[in-house]
Point group: D2
């Protein structure tokens, strides 16, 4: 994901220094002209902007505040585009650390799979301090087809991202239940999928994930169940904090949790098998 | 709904006799050239095709088999397009009665609201005996923008219709949970709605129902909660018969049930208030 | 179940004619002095009271109203103790048929397993026409340790029975979730079971079903999953009719449904495996 | 709660120094012979044992490690009986801090309401380092009617406590659903309560909480909804960490969350109103 985004920044003419824990992953970007750093601190030396895309909250905190972390090395006035799916409070807390340091964090989660990122067709949400958000805008524009502002709270865009992943999961579960009912009623699962995604639910989301559900073939793995289970847990943590009952989110989390507990090597949409399996298919 | 469909049949040049329990409802169709019958039996005298669109299974059975019902009066070889949202078994049972009578029932449920029907933009699913389905096709084409065949089982298209209403309900619930979480996190409900329906969920379904959820204003009433609660009960009846766990459907049914129990005069999407109310808003 | 109850009626000094579809099942009762009939009609000839205990609503209706059914053969003034777990409306409808016939149905569902029945330790609920209920009382007293009256509605006691089976299921599910969490937290499943059933939940219900859940050994089969799934469906049918959200009942039904769909040959409490299996154990 | 327990320690002949943030709450214990300290540190000076009973994890950590906290002041070799309902990891973490300090923490959560504590009828679970657990045993015996050992892991007894509160909540929800269904079916809520708590569920737990549910009168407030909602959140946190699907726990949490969001001033069992309210009563 990060690689596709980095490529688009290079294509847009920006100078780029990259860092990845696994050095080999930076090789192709090096060929495209990126410098390669061996620590986060080295990567941000002299930078006006830094983009981060990591797996979870702990990885982001380590990257910023851990040994050779980027924050202490960041030039004053620099702007950090925090692209990972993390808890709103993680971005808020890091934004405060930035503020003390003299830099700024803007939460800039992205919506789309790696192939969407490669095509510079991501959707982005952005929130954080106003002037930093404006300065960052041209770079974000290079990454996707639309950037939406959600105000000054650096946690806000993270909340939007979590809501989005939740809504994707709900669409997948709805298809899993509907297609399985149709199948056990004697209908063709694939035909029902084609009907709905040609008519009422004619969108890339339903078409893309629905295909996996219709075929019951959850390969290749776009995002592992454990990653999105973590996202659903963040959704539920927010729902707990804000006292919002979210019965659908509970179900999604539990289905993903079982998929992880069973060690299934599938795309996260494979949690749809909880329904087909539960129906004895 | 039935009126809009009848208008499109007239526009397509068909001769039409209409029947409604409330005679006044047929007045505007009369102006457009329809004959008006005072009983179902009278309406189908001499007809090659008959369309029915009623509220529930009991109304459909009454219309076909009750006093002055249409079935005994139907000419041999006639075709009955059964458009209502009913249990698959209701259409199967009536199809058998037709078969004994020498006529044929084709299940032809429609997808879309009355304004969609008026614009002849419905989507239709059709299932039932093959040759009857083919003869019926030109008439169905006049009603919508696409007709999809689901084979010979006269219950099959009803199952597809139930799956569709379930998937709509799931989309509404997902938005209710997401928008409420966003709102209680300090975001603007309307802005979150606009973001998602401009990007990942850019479809008339999400835009239309999502607007009601975002504004928490569930007027005008397109379909009453009691009507769609009945549909969700049919979904659950099917899920029970076929041993398919449908946790989302359970939740939708219970939310609609509460909306009916409280006597709320709203569109069925108003069940979304179960979440906002449950969050103390 | 019926056999154990019949034995207690014989022990109490009553004359008894028995009928079972499988004639061999009546052999041991014959040894104890019962007459054996070859049809329901023959069994009730000349009887003042008749007890029925069958698997489901269809079996009960067949027994009463089917070929050689008991109702036409029942002497005027006789009382039918309807012991099966059926829909309240089934008992109500049969009570009306009795009324037309000149006899009376009293719903008398029983609580307890076969070994409890054998020990005459059942609990009974009774509802139906008042004087019939009073006349029936001495016979019911011979079957258990307590009879509770629920008034004139012949459906009322059935509702109570359904509530009871639901509450049993809820206790089993609660133990399944708690014991599984404890086990995955490093505790001994058995020890946690012993703690709770020695302290807060020190009752035969929790001890008996909890033992199965703790040991994950659901043998012997007291009642098959399909039987109790049917009961949970009746619970949900009632909840739908009366507009009562029952989220726990939804979960129990779905777990039992999966257990049936997978063809597991276990006691109904084996639905607890849905949780342990879902946790990857 | 703590007061009742302290009284029993005094009655058993122990010398006791007490501390409460609200000094006046210690007045009655002072009359009974307790010394009163003005800080946690002062309270534990010279002590061989210390008991803590506070509202949540943060309060416990503050009490131990905050300003004038007890841990730095605790004599070497002393034993800390940690009675509060907290996350297993909180007790584990504090146990490590004790270990570094030369003292020992034993998790000793208690089961029972304040009146049960006053009668020295609590049930206790204990886990932590073996020899400390044995030394603590005589004091625990003075507090209740039974102490159960759960091994060396200082988090284990906390898990058991969380499981217990979850099982209580499940019993309450089950009664709420059953009694509401019975009521809407025309039965008397109170009578159904009496039947079940005289027969299958004849235990103080079902009788005590069931009375509140039957009468729909959730006073006085034994424990506030916010307190037990916190407990259910801890249950869910554990279930997430250990990948255990807990659908009942999800429902309990959401019902308590709504009760808190609506600001209802009731005992925590008042979450049962989510069902009666949802049924339109």
């Amino acid at each position: 994901m990060g690689e596709a985004m980095a490529e688009n920044l290079l294509k847009a003419g920006h100078r780029l220094t990259v860092y990845n824990r696994t050095v080999s992953k930076a090789a192709s970007l090096k060929k495209l002209g990126a410098s390669v750093a061996t620590t986060p601190a080295e990567a941000v030396a002299g930078a006006a902007f830094v983009f981060t895309m990591v797996t979870d909250d702990a990885a982001l905190e380590e990257l910023c505040l851990g040994p050779d972390g980027l924050l202490p090395a960041l030039p004053a006035g620099a702007i950090h585009a925090s692209c990972s799916t993390v808890a709103p409070d993680t971005n808020r807390r890091l934004a405060e650390a930035h503020s003390r340091h003299g830099s700024t964090l803007v939460a800039t989660p992205v919506f789309g799979k790696p192939d969407v990122a490669a095509a510079a067709k991501l959707w982005l949400a952005a929130s954080g301090e106003d002037s930093a958000r404006r300065k960052l805008r041209p770079l974000l524009n290079a990454l996707g087809q639309g950037v939406y502002d959600f105000g000054d709270d650096p946690g806000a865009a993270s909340t939007v991202k979590l809501c989005g992943n939740f809504m994707l999961g709900a669409a997948i579960e709805a298809m899993a239940e509907a297609f399985t009912l149709a199948q056990k009623s004697g209908l063709d699962r694939q035909q029902v999928y084609e009907f709905f995604t040609s008519t009422l639910f004619n969108t890339p989301i339903y078409k893309g994930y629905g295909k996996l559900v219709a075929e019951r073939h959850y390969q290749p793995v776009g995002a592992a169940p454990a990653i999105i289970r973590k996202d659903m847990r963040l959704v539920l943590d927010e729902s707990r904090t804000h006292l919002v009952p979210m019965p659908f989110a509970n179900i999604l989390h539990d289905h993903l949790s079982t998929t992880v507990a069973k060690g299934e090597k599938v795309d996260w949409a494979g949690f749809a098998e909880r329904i087909t399996d539960g129906a004895g298919l």
